[in-house]
C-alpha cells in the first residue's frame, strides 16, 4: 500500500471537487485530476565575512540565490514558494511559483510604486514567477514524455561535477525493471543575436542509462554541449556509480570532456569517489576525493581546465551542504561560483571557457583536488530531533601555471588553496518546521595568499527557518 510521501504536507482533492467546493456546492464524485497544493517558506538571516580574504579591503558584491549582496555584511534572504500539481492516470503538470529575494522594504510590500527602479530594473521586488515547471505524459509503459524547466541532473548522487540545474528541457525517460534511462534536450541559452559576438545560443543534449546490478547502480553518461555562445563543441562522456559494499555506502564518477573551444583543442577530465561508513545513528563518517583537471598553460593551443555544464557540488551526495562557504560565490582568490566546488572562473569569466553556471567558466582555470572528511548523525542524547553534519575540505589547485603571484611577484603560486570547515546543526520541531544553522569558514592556504597577498579567513553564518506544507 504505497502512498505519497510527506502525508501531512500535501492536501489532495479532485479538480471537480475543488471547483464545486469553491462554489459552495459540496463534494462531488469525479474521475478528474487529482490536485496537490504545497509550498515552502525559508527565511535565512545570513552574515558573510571577508569573501576577499582580506580584512583591510572593502568586499565587493557577491551573488547568492536571492540576488547581489555584500561579501562582508548581513543580509536576509527569503525564498518563498507555492506549488501545485495536477495528475491523471498517465499525465501530470507541476508548477512552482517562487519569489527569492534579499529582503528590504523596497522589494516586499512596496514592490509597485510610481517610478520605482532598483538595479536598473523597474519594480524589482517580490513578484512570484514560475521558478519550476514539469509536464509529463506517459506515451508507453517505459516511455514518458517530459518537458518544462525543473530539476534535472546527470551526476548528483556522486560528485555533481557535470550537471544539475533547473534549465528548460524536452525529453524522454522511462524505467523497465532494473534499467532506467533519460534523454534530454536542454536549450540553456537561446538568445536573439543582436550582432554582439558575445551573444548566442547554448544547447545541451544528454543521455543517461542506469542499470541496477545487485546493490549497485551504474550509469553511463553522454552529453553533447553545442555552445555557440563560446564557440565550443564539447562531448562529455563518463560513468557514475553508487551502491553498497557491506555496511558502507560508496559512490564514484569519472567524466571526460573532449572537443574544441574556438581554434583550440579541448581535452579535460574530472573524477570523484567517496565512501561513507555508518557506525551508529550519531556517527556516520565519510571520506571523499573530488578532482577537476586544471590548465597548465593559457598560451598554448590546448584547453585543459575542466568546466562542467553546471558544477553542482553544493548539492551533491556526500560532500554537499546547502549554504557552506565553498558553495557560495567566492569570486576572489579561489574562483568558485555559486553552487560550484571547482575554481572554474579563475582565469577570467569565459576565457577559453565552454560552460559552467552562466556560461562563465574559464578553460584556463587551475582545477582542484579536494580531500574531504566528514560525519553526520543524530544528537538524540542532546535533543531528540537534533542532527549535525560536520566536514573538512583540504583543497589544492591542480595546476598553478596560469595563476599570478601578487605576494611574491614572479614566483610560482603555491598549490595549496586552503581549508574549509563546515558545521551544520538542524533541529526539526516537526515535519512542517525546522531550523538549521551553518557556520562555515575558508582558511586560505598559501595558494590563495600568494594571489591575494592577504591571509584572512572568510566566514558564512546562516540561520535557516524552514516551513513546508
Amino acid at each position: 500500500m504505497s502512498k505519497s510521501t510527506k502525508p501531512v504536507s500535501f492536501k489532495k482533492l479532485t479538480l471537480a471537487t475543488a471547483i464545486l467546493a469553491s462554489l459552495g456546492l459540496g463534494a462531488a464524485q469525479s474521475n478528474a485530476a487529482e490536485i496537490e497544493f504545497f509550498g515552502t517558506a525559508k527565511i535565512k538571516p545570513t552574515y558573510y565575512s571577508n569573501f576577499d580574504f582580506d580584512d583591510q579591503k572593502e568586499d565587493g558584491a557577491t551573488l547568492n540565490e536571492g540576488g547581489l549582496v555584500s561579501g562582508n555584511g548581513a543580509n536576509t534572504r527569503a525564498e518563498t514558494r507555492l506549488g501545485w500539481k495536477a495528475a491523471g492516470d498517465d499525465w501530470s503538470v507541476k508548477m512552482i511559483a517562487e519569489a527569492d529575494q534579499i529582503l528590504t522594504k523596497d522589494n516586499v510590500d512596496r514592490s509597485f510604486y510610481t517610478t520605482a527602479e532598483k538595479n536598473g530594473l523597474p519594480n524589482a521586488g517580490g513578484e512570484f514567477g514560475i521558478e519550476r515547471a514539469e509536464f509529463l505524459y506517459s506515451l508507453a509503459p517505459a516511455v514518458q514524455l517530459q518537458a518544462g524547466w525543473d530539476i534535472r541532473y546527470l551526476d548528483l548522487q556522486s560528485g555533481g561535477l557535470l550537471y544539475g540545474d533547473d534549465h528548460p528541457f524536452v525529453g524522454l525517460r522511462g524505467k523497465n525493471n532494473d534499467t532506467s534511462y533519460e534523454v534530454l534536450y536542454i536549450p540553456i541559452n537561446n538568445r536573439v543575436n543582436t550582432g554582439s559576438s558575445e551573444a548566442g545560443d547554448w544547447r545541451v543534449y544528454s543521455a543517461k542509462v542506469s542499470q541496477k546490478v545487485a546493490e549497485w547502480t551504474l550509469s553511463p553518461i553522454l552529453a553533447y554541449s553545442d555552445n555557440v555562445d563560446r564557440n565550443a563543441d564539447v562531448t562529455y562522456f563518463g560513468l557514475e556509480g553508487f551502491g553498497k559494499i557491506g555496511g558502507a555506502n560508496l559512490s564514484f564518477e569519472v567524466i571526460g570532456a573532449d572537443g574544441t573551444v574556438g581554434e583550440r583543442d579541448l581535452s579535460s577530465a574530472a573524477a570523484y569517489a567517496g565512501i561513507e561508513l555508518p557506525v551508529n545513528d550519531s556517527f556516520s563518517p565519510y571520506v571523499a576525493v573530488r578532482y577537476t583537471q586544471g590548465d597548465s598553460d593559457a598560451t598554448d593551443n590546448k584547453v585543459e581546465g575542466f568546466n562542467g555544464i553546471t558544477d553542482i557540488g553544493r548539492f551533491s551526495g556526500l560532500m554537499g551542504m546547502d549554504g557552506n562557504i565553498l558553495g557560495e560565490n567566492l569570486s576572489t582568490g579561489y574562483g568558485a561560483t555559486l553552487y560550484a566546488y571547482a575554481p572554474e572562473r579563475t582565469g577570467g569569466a569565459g576565457v577559453q571557457g565552454y560552460g559552467g553556471i552562466g556560461n562563465g567558466a574559464s578553460g584556463i582555470n587551475p582545477g582542484s583536488r579536494i580531500f574531504a572528511l566528514g560525519t553526520k548523525g543524530a544528537l538524540a542524547n542532546v535533543s531528540p530531533n537534533l542532527s549535525y553534519k560536520a566536514q573538512l575540505f583540504m583543497i589544492w589547485f591542480d595546476e598553478t601555471g596560469n595563476l599570478i603571484n601578487a605576494k611574491n611577484p614572479g614566483q610560482k603560486v603555491d598549490d595549496y588553496a586552503g581549508t574549509t570547515v563546515d558545521l551544520q546543526l538542524k533541529y526539526a520541531f516537526n515535519q512542517n518546521f525546522s531550523m538549521d544553522y551553518i557556520l562555515s569558514t575558508f582558511v586560505p592556504g598559501d595558494g590563495i595568499q600568494d594571489q591575494t597577498n592577504s591571509n584572512d579567513s572568510a566566514y558564512v553564518n546562516t540561520l535557516s527557518m524552514n516551513w513546508a506544507y
Partner: protein, 480 residues
C-alpha cells in the same frame, strides 16, 4: 444507537408504527450528499423530520434516517405543528412506488439546500460461495442503551480490550507515543490507571497493539509496536521498529520478550511477526511467534504462504483469509498455502475508505527533488500507512469504514466513520454500531457478560490522531 432523550415525545408513537411494518425487506443505501450537508451544518442542529408516501418501505427508511440524524447530533422534531419549536432545518422524506425522495430545506428562508432521489430495490443476500462480501440490510433498532463517551487527555493511536476484572468494569490498553497504558473503565466513565510501560527510546510513534493468550497459560499477553522516527536526519526518516510482548499481572505491565524490532500481531490467540526491509516497509514472510517455557522464538517457516503483509492479511483458518488491497477493498481469499495465483477472490464492491495513519517511513533508494536541490526540499522517504484493523471474533470479522474526511477548502471534517461486521459463514456485512462523526483511529469489539457485543472506539478530531481524543463505548444495536 439512538439517544431517546434527544427525540421529542412523538417518538414512541412513531416507533410503534415503524415496528409494525419493519419486517418489509428493503435495501438501504446511504443518502451521501444529504449526510455530508448535515454533517457540515454548523448552525443549530435542530431539525423537523417529515415523512410522506404510501410505500411500505417508508418505515425503515425513516428509521434509518432518524438513527443517522441522532448520530450526527441533531435534535429531532417529528412532523410540523403549530406548537413545534422552530427548527433550523426541515428534512422531508417521501417514499412512493419504490422511489425515495429526500429534500433538505433551510427553515429561516425556506431555501432547498439539498435533494436526492433513488430507487429502492429488493435485497438478495449474496451467497458467500461467490466470495463476495455484501452489505446486508441495516439493523433494526434494538435496545436503546446510550453510548458512553470519555474524553482523553492523551492522544493514543491504538486500543485493545483486555479481560474484564469484573462484570462491571471494562479494561482497555491504549498505545501512544509515550508508552502503553492499561485502564479500567467503570460506570462512572472515568479511566482508572492500572499499569503502564514506557520504552526508553525517543521519537516514538505508536504503530500497533493487540492482545491474546498466545502462550495458552490462561493469561492475556499484549503485543505493542512503536516506530522510532528521527525527523531531523539528513538522510530522511527511516522508521526503526520497537516491539515487545508484555504481560500484565499484579506487579504491573512487564515485557516478557526482548525488543523484537519487528511488526507484531495477534490473531485468534496466535502471535505473528514480520520484519522491515531496507527499502520496503514489509519484507520477507509472516512468521508465527512461538512460546516455549515462557520464552518466545520465531518460527523457521512462514506462517501462511501466499500472503505477505502482517496487517493487510488476516487468517480466518488454515484455508482462508481476509485481505485488504491497495484500494482499501476487503477481499476474501482461499487457497492459503498455495501460490498467490491460486487464490480466488472478489473484492468487496465498495472501498472502505483510506486510512492514512499511523505510518512507517521507508528511506528511498534514490532521493527525489520535486521542489528543489535544497536539503529541506528533497523527498528522501515514503510514508506507508498501516492497514486498518481486522478483528476476528468467532464467526464475525470486524473492521472500520472511513467515511469521514477533510477537504482543502473546508476547515471542518465531514462524514462519518463506522464499524462493520462481516459474517464469515454467510458473507453478510452489517453495521451493528452507530456511525460516528469523528475519525475512528482504532477499535476493539468484545462480548459483555450478557453476551451482547460492545465496541470501544478510539476517536479523534483529526485522522492523524493529533486532535482531541476520546473513547466511545457502543452497544450492539442489533441484539445479535
Amino acid at each position: 444507537m439512538i439517544d431517546i432523550a434527544r427525540i421529542n415525545f412523538r417518538l414512541p408513537v412513531l416507533l410503534i408504527w415503524l415496528l409494525s411494518v419493519a419486517w418489509l425487506p428493503t435495501a438501504y443505501a446511504e443518502w451521501i450528499q444529504t449526510e455530508k450537508s448535515l454533517a457540515a451544518w454548523d448552525d443549530s442542529k435542530t431539525i423537523d423530520f417529515i415523512m410522506t408516501g404510501d410505500d411500505g418501505r417508508l418505515a425503515l427508511e425513516s428509521l434509518e434516517l432518524l438513527r443517522r440524524l441522532v448520530s450526527l447530533g441533531y435534535q429531532i422534531t417529528l412532523g410540523r405543528h403549530a406548537d413545534s419549536p422552530v427548527s433550523a432545518l426541515e428534512l422531508r422524506l417521501t417514499v412512493t412506488n419504490r422511489t425515495a425522495t429526500l429534500v433538505l430545506n433551510r427553515t429561516r428562508d425556506g431555501m432547498t439546500i439539498g435533494a436526492e432521489q433513488r430507487q429502492l430495490a429488493e435485497t438478495t443476500a449474496t451467497n458467500y460461495t461467490n466470495k463476495t462480501v455484501r452489505l446486508a440490510g441495516r439493523p433494526s433498532v434494538g435496545n436503546s442503551v446510550p453510548d458512553r463517551r470519555i474524553d482523553l487527555n492523551r492522544r493514543p493511536l491504538r486500543i485493545v480490550s483486555l479481560n474484564q476484572p469484573n462484570p462491571d468494569i471494562l479494561r482497555v490498553a491504549l498505545l501512544g507515543a509515550k508508552g502503553l497504558s492499561v485502564y479500567d473503565i467503570d460506570s462512572t466513565q472515568v479511566l482508572k490507571p492500572v499499569a503502564e510501560f514506557r520504552p526508553s527510546n525517543a521519537n516514538l510513534e505508536a504503530l500497533y497493539l493487540d492482545a491474546g493468550d498466545i502462550d495458552a497459560d490462561g493469561n492475556t499477553e499484549i503485543v505493542a509496536v512503536w516506530g522510532e522516527n528521527n525527523i531531523s536526519g539528513f538522510d530522511g526518516i527511516d522508521t526503526k521498529l520497537h516491539a515487545w510482548v508484555l504481560a500484565l499481572d499484579d506487579s504491573g505491565l512487564k515485557p516478557v520478550s526482548d525488543d523484537l524490532q519487528a511488526y507484531l500481531r495477534i490473531n485468534n490467540n496466535t502471535a505473528y511477526l514480520q520484519r522491515r526491509g531496507v527499502y520496503e516497509a514489509f519484507a520477507g514472510g509472516v512468521y508465527q511467534l512461538e512460546s516455549h517455557d515462557g520464552l518466545f522464538s520465531i518460527a523457521k517457516s512462514p506462517a501462511f504462504l501466499g500472503l505477505s503483509n502482517i496487517y493487510q492479511d488476516t487468517p480466518i483458518d488454515h484455508a482462508s483469509a481476509f485481505s485488504l488491497d491497495e484500494n482499501d477493498r476487503l477481499l476474501y481469499r482461499t487457497g492459503v498455502g498455495q501460490r498467490q495465483t491460486a487464490v480466488t477472490s472478489v473484492p468487496y464492491s465498495d472501498a472502505l475508505g483510506e486510512i492514512t495513519f499511523p505510518v512507517v517511513y521507508v528511506k528511498l533508494e534514490q532521493q527525489e527533488y520535486p521542489l528543489g536541490f535544497d536539503e529541506s526540499d528533497r523527498v528522501r522517504e515514503r510514508a506507508i500507512p498501516l492497514a486498518r484493523r481486522v478483528q476476528i471474533d468467532g464467526d464475525i470479522a470486524y473492521t472500520q469504514v472511513r467515511g469521514r474526511n477533510t477537504s482543502l477548502f473546508r476547515s471542518k471534517a465531514e462524514g462519518t466513520d463506522r464499524i462493520v461486521a462481516v459474517d464469515i459463514r454467510s458473507g453478510r456485512m452489517t453495521e451493528p454500531f452507530a456511525a460516528v462523526g469523528n475519525f475512528i483511529l482504532d477499535f476493539t469489539v468484545r462480548q459483555d457478560p450478557n453476551n451482547a457485543r460492545v465496541a470501544i472506539l478510539l476517536l479523534n478530531d483529526k485522522p492523524d490522531g493529533s486532535g482531541r481524543s476520546s473513547l466511545r463505548i457502543q452497544q450492539d444495536s442489533t441484539n445479535q
